[in-house]
Symmetry: C2
Subunit: 338 residues, 2 copies
């Protein structure tokens, strides 16, 4: 049985991020206040633009990971509030630069910042939030946390460059693609979890277990995102179906379908994704090919395996409400695909 | 007498960055090696793109400031090498993002990275170098240095956004423009100098004196850069005359000419700089107006005053070769205008 199905059996409801959100609700309110406070600047465009993205919401999964990880490790103090804010600032900065790189018009169902204020502002406000994040970390004063988050930031940037290089390259292998996902997405999940153990001053083993949980959760999360880009449920998220296809993005479903395709199918993928020579009926053909090679379900299967790894990492911790919420988060992550 | 003239009288030669470069030559070699080493990544585009900018050279004034400030403060160890590298990485990241924002085709006399590899790569490699800089700072392990450089990074980003907002706005005041210059350019000069005193563990007074030196030097440096954009010596630097004008950039010469201009002249500036409606003969007319209101010499006068402030800040330090080199640097900075 898959990870998700078993949980749904037990609780009789669809897994969601609700348990996690409820558990850290008070802390998250403090994080939200700190986000608003620390994105201020006498340069009015900065809070305007950052506020647009913050107001659009998003699930705030990354800062919630830090908050819940610290609590699961028994941390009683207030420092995890600042650190969760650092994590969200890094994420927000990355989103701003991502949208410039992707030339996206939508983000979290609203017009993206770059489409409203232009690419230049998005680049610079991203830089500001990134710097502000480091200022906050320095105020916290933990060199181990600074080491984890500065290293994560470098790796994220490397992952983004790797993704740029695999874009439009249908010869990308599954391994190469998974390296992109680890760096670009999962690294920040891993760091967000790990610093929860650091702030609680727990042994290295717990730090690494939380890092492994975050890393595996992050990979599963991204793979399901890749599936969702070709799935009908997309419309609900305010996104368009087939964005990745139109941009020539190589994601795991494509890698799986391409590698199993015959010569004429591979020629189709090269024309549409490498040369970006796309006709109105091409998205339908792409969906047919993804279905023929079980590329979406193959991707979900892999996500499920990473989800199982994430759950295994949690065995380092005793029972408790945070652990339960972390388990449900894995199931939610996979369940989104259905 | 002006600052520059007096020095030239005494030494009988034009001031340059040579004395400073000679003084820190060995340390600078170590910095260059560390730059090459730490910009490496298994993602080949990163060292390619960063290497392009590094190979193009530039004067490396900012890391030299850190090196010489540490030595002037009597620091005997090796840590200033890593910190000077951090400063140069922050500067390089800023240049990469700057060129994206300015849509520049040239940088240091060569094709800019964005014109070769595209804006996306420049944004992401800038992010990488910026993160790498923080990783290096964390390895150094000084929270006061981290505080100074993370704060400087936020202020630089604010300055860049302020500049974006004053671009094409002829109503920008001299004060508003100087705030841009302080944040965007002078702040990193100030931080580069200040951390020299921090690494040497000198009293706060020396830290602040070095910060003041760097801040005033940086303002003088930028104002002379503004003058150079309208000066014939430009061609030697591999830049084109009138780039700022064509982009509608508001710099101090423009602020001075606009504020003294009559109605038809102000209309000319608005048409050319706000509406960017420019005709072939407009750059000549702009040069005429700058000359009529002594806008270039007025800008040089102000730079000279900031230069004098920089020299005054050095009074906190006893005589020595580093202090001499810092004095000459101020004179060099102003002399470039002639």
């Amino acid at each position: 049985m898959g990870v998700a199905a078993s949980i749904e059996d037990v609780r009789g409801r669809k897994p969601s991020t609700e348990s996690l959100a409820t558990l850290v609700a008070d802390d998250m309110q403090a994080v939200n206040a700190l986000i608003i406070d620390r994105m201020q600047s006498q340069v009015s465009l900065i809070p305007q633009l950052a506020g647009h993205l913050v107001a659009a919401g998003g699930k705030r999964i990354r800062p919630m990971l830090t908050l819940a990880a610290a609590r699961m490790c028994g941390y009683p103090g207030p420092r995890h509030i600042g650190l969760a804010t650092c994590v969200e600032f890094i994420h927000t900065a990355t989103l701003l630069h991502d949208d410039v790189v992707d030339e996206s018009d939508l983000r979290r169902g609203l017009a993206s910042a770059n489409s409203v204020w232009g690419n230049k502002s998005s680049v610079l406000v991203g830089d500001f939030l990134f710097s502000r994040s480091f200022e906050l970390m320095v105020e916290d004063g933990s060199l181990p946390v600074l080491a984890i988050l500065s290293r994560a930031s470098s790796i994220i940037a490397e992952g983004e460059v790797m993704q740029l290089m695999t874009t439009n390259d249908t010869s990308t292998t599954e391994d190469a693609y998974l390296n992109v996902v680890r760096a670009k997405t999962a690294e920040l999940f891993a760091a967000a979890c790990r610093i929860g153990a650091v702030v609680a001053d727990r042994p290295k083993g717990e730090e690494l277990a939380l890092e492994s949980y975050g890393m595996n959760l992050g990979i599963a999360f991204q793979l399901i995102d890749d599936v969702l880009d070709y799935a009908a449920v997309q419309a609900k998220l305010g996104k368009t179906v087939g964005d990745d296809f139109r941009e020539g993005k190589i994601t795991l479903p494509i890698v799986l379908a391409y590698s199993q395709g015959d010569e004429s199918e591979q020629a189709f993928w090269r024309r549409t994704l490498e040369e970006l020579d796309q006709r109105p009926e091409d998205l339908d053909r792409a969906m047919d090919l993804l279905s023929r090679y079980d590329a979406l379900s193959g991707t979900i299967d892999r996500a499920r395996q990473y989800g199982a790894n994430a759950l295994a990492a949690l065995e380092a911790f005793g029972p408790g409400p945070e652990k339960d919420a972390f388990i449900e988060l894995v199931d939610f992550c996979i369940e989104r695909a259905y």
